[in-house]
């Protein structure tokens, strides 16, 4: 049974931050949730989708983040509490809607947007601090610092939204969303609301400047509420030598830094959970007690610069401060923060030395292990269809010989930019950008451009943002090949169903949007292939790039190996025949291990031959087709 729907108030549970947010929404009585998956946000709506039927709520995976928020907003307009959750890039996608919704206001049902940022880009192409959307759109912001707070704030966010008829932003980061910790469960509501649109209401930002002014007045009201919020607290001496001002993930690190350096009597921590609009009076009260302030937050100096702006106004009355943080170089203004960085920042600001461990041991540990620990490059899983597609693309472009290249997109296949995909991807930006860029390259012929261009995108990315680019290419008669890597999964984010999988977020059957027919309806040439048939795929890629003019589509279709492994047993039992594999003497330059690079194939150095690692191999059998000696044997599993 999912812990999320456990009807046991007071029960102490280990929850992922994202699960805690989902639980908070359930405790608030959320009835509608919509999102497009993206790490680190995916498990919020994913968790709700698992309990949706039992809890009588509606949950969907939407085609993209903008549509998700629009769908959720409609439920709010009809009086239901509703939410959407997205990663930082999703906030960008939805931003046009957000920056109109702020002016139109929301309905009588509270509307909450969870923005989950990925500092250090652990599973993103970019690094970004989405808190700025709050300032940009004059929208209230909440930042949980603990797992308990993730739940409690999610619940409160709905109440706040309803009290001011505004979208509320709950901002998390990877180390909250994807970490796990203790959460005491609260009560689940018993009542459900009926949805009805009050036709006397309009949600149109007419007279935008006046609404903008009204929005500022709303924020003033929120600021008053935030002054006494229980999400802000102070620990430390009455008059600290230095005050740490922190939010979100910075709270745990700040606490650990003070303890580690044994500065409890000299340093205070003001933890702010309501970071836009800032509780100015509360900040002024605490800052009046010290002359030195250290800001701890992830990623950009959002809190830091906003507090400095306030401080500039206070200084005639309260005086001035020495500020430490991202501006002073004490805290990194990029990447993640962590306990070491914050301990060191505090150590420097307080001039109190810190050594993480005995210096000799540290030196010895690093020296002894230095030459023994090889890097692990990211790669495609054993049996991944993307490896086969990139192999075919690489060979086809080489045979074509005109300097063709691939514009990339967002998904597992992004790994194709590195050795695993034979360095085929040359560009990667936003969802759908690969095809958008290809439409432009395909117009450059009058300027002497004569290289074939292929865009690649996954099936989920196709629906999300590549369709407008494809249509742009058709309408403007661009010249490129679009390769849809259809693995029937949103694999990178956790195998969520999408418009092409025939299943809804809650496991009900759904119509399949047929990529092939959709493309064909645009009048373009459409081919399909099975990437595991390397020859056929290579031939088709070559034929498509050879055809000049117009948009051509190749759908390379094969189920994700991880999904397949869960559903069925391996197709083949694969082994290397040691008699046939002649190793270095072959002349193949170890094509299987050195060039093809499937992790299921290893090089037995002692014997000088290739070998299958039976722990890793998933039995796809593709490597049998690349061995010039036919030394890799695949036998069908019965």
């Amino acid at each position: 049974m999912s812990v999320i729907k456990k009807d046991a108030p007071g029960s102490n549970e280990l929850l992922m931050g994202n699960e805690a947010i989902a639980r908070g929404a359930l405790e608030a009585g959320v009835q509608f949730a919509a999102a497009y998956p993206g790490n680190p946000s995916s498990e919020i709506i994913g968790t709700l989708s698992q309990v949706a039927k039992d809890m009588g709520i509606y949950v969907e995976w939407s085609v993209n983040e903008k549509v998700a928020l629009e769908a959720a907003a409609s439920a709010s307009f009809a009086g239901l509490r509703s939410m959407s959750a997205m990663k930082q890039n999703g906030v960008n996608v939805a931003s046009d809607f957000i920056l109109n919704l702020n002016l139109s206001g929301v309905g009588t049902g509270g509307l909450v947007l969870v923005a989950a940022d990925d500092p250090a880009a652990l599973s993103s192409t970019n690094e970004e601090d989405s808190r700025f959307i709050s300032k940009l759109g004059d929208l209230p912001l909440l930042e949980p610092a603990t797992f308990q707070e993730a739940k409690d704030m999610a619940k409160y966010a709905f109440e706040l939204s309803e009290s001011i008829n505004s979208l509320v932003i709950l901002r998390s980061v990877s180390r909250i969303s994807h970490a796990k910790g203790n959460v005491l469960l609260g009560e689940l509501p018993r009542e459900k609301k009926t949805a009805r649109y009050d036709t006397s209401k309009i949600f149109i930002p007419v007279a935008a400047p006046l609404r903008h002014l009204a929005l500022h007045l709303k924020l003033k009201k929120v600021q008053e509420m935030y002054e006494t919020s229980s999400f802000n607290w102070y620990v430390g001496p009455e008059k600290p030598e230095l005050l740490m001002v922190t939010s979100g993930s910075g709270w745990f690190y700040s606490q650990e830094a003070v303890r580690t350096l044994d500065l409890q009597d000299r340093v205070g921590i003001l933890k702010v959970g309501t970071t836009w609009p800032l509780p100015a009076k509360l900040l002024a009260k605490h800052m009046a007690n010290t002359r030195r302030v250290l800001f701890v937050e992830e990623v950009d100096p959002f809190l830091e610069n906003n507090v400095k702006e306030l401080a500039a106004e206070w200084s005639p009355e309260i005086g001035s401060w020495n500020f430490y943080g991202k501006g002073s170089g004490h805290v990194n203004p990029f990447g993640e923060i962590n306990p070491d960085l914050i301990i060191n920042a505090l150590s420097k600001a307080m001039d109190k030395p810190y050594a993480p461990r005995e210096a000799n041991y540290g030196k010895k540990a690093l020296e002894m292990t230095k030459s023994l620990v090889p890097n692990r490059d990211l790669g495609f899983c054993a049996g991944c269809p993307h490896r086969a597609t990139f192999w075919a693309i690489k060979n086809a472009l080489k045979l074509d010989g005109r300097g063709g290249f691939v514009t990339g997109d967002i998904g597992c296949y992004s790994i194709g930019l590195g050795p695993a995909g034979y360095f085929q991807l040359k560009t990667m930006h936003a969802m759908g950008s690969g095809t958008g860029l290809a439409t432009g390259f395909g117009q450059l012929k009058p300027f002497g451009f004569d290289q074939p261009v292929l865009s690649v995108c996954g099936d989920s990315t196709f629906f999300h943002a590549a369709i407008p680019a494809l249509i742009n290419g058709v309408y403007n008669q661009s010249n490129f090949v679009m390769v849809v890597l259809d693995n029937s999964a949103t694999a990178m984010t956790g195998f969520q169903p999408h418009a092409g999988t025939g299943e809804t977020a809650t496991g009900s059957p759904a119509p399949v949007v047929d990529i092939e027919k959709l493309c064909a309806s645009l009048g373009v040439r459409v081919e399909t292939c099975d990437p595991f048939d390397l020859q056929d795929t290579t031939d088709k890629v070559l034929d498509l790039v050879s055809q000049e003019g117009g948009v051509r589509v190749l759908i390379s279709r094969r189920k994700c190996a991880l999904v397949k492994a869960k559903e069925e047993k391996a197709t083949y039992k694969v082994r290397v025949d040691p008699e046939k594999c002649v190793g270095e003497a072959c002349g193949c330059a170890r094509i299987c291990t050195r060039i093809f690079k499937c992790p299921g194939l290893i090089w037995d150095k002692e014997k000088g031959k290739s070998r299958i690692d039976e722990v890793i191999c998933t039995g796809c059998g593709v490597c049998a087709d690349i061995c010039p000696q036919s030394a890799i044997i695949r036998e069908e599993n019965k």
Partner: protein, 203 residues
Amino acid sequence: MNLTKDPLNLIIAGVGGQGNVMASQLVGRALVRENYYVTIGDTYGASQRGGAVMSHLRISRDSQFSPLIPEGQADIIVALEPVEALRVIARYGNPSTSAVINSRPIYPTAVTVGDAEYPSLDKIRATINELARKSWFVDATEIALSLGSPIFTNIIMVGALAGTGLLPLGRRSFEDVIQESFPGAHLEVNLKAFAQGMDLVKA
């Protein structure tokens, strides 16, 4: 049972796909049932595709800690893969660190390609023995294969961790969460995997 240190810091390391998230979740849930504060920081995202992954567990009686262990502060390291034990002890180890290590390598592509060397198990063992207070090398993958699939490796390693007695948990606490986590047909084999893992270290 009491913590030998507060917070007690445990790292479960491995390669994406080996199931370190499941292992950390089992240990974490067993501890929360005994009313400990537990914070887990797992590696998510792109590294799950063949990269080096870690789960940090911070265990405390009195407060919630951050999901990241500071440099040099690991008390226990569980490595699902031998080179990963080295990677982790290099940054997080100290003279009191204990380590439980699965001896079966997963070769990085850099090694299969020929750009990097994978150290011999003897070399790995000698290095760990020099850096750790106490260590156990176990053949978890081989036992997993004998139970029918390499996917049991993580549960066997949780069993091995239980066998060390370094966590304030009895056998029953682990078995209870395994019972909760693997309903139906998968329960028996997982309990067996856990028990065999425990025997590896007790023996």
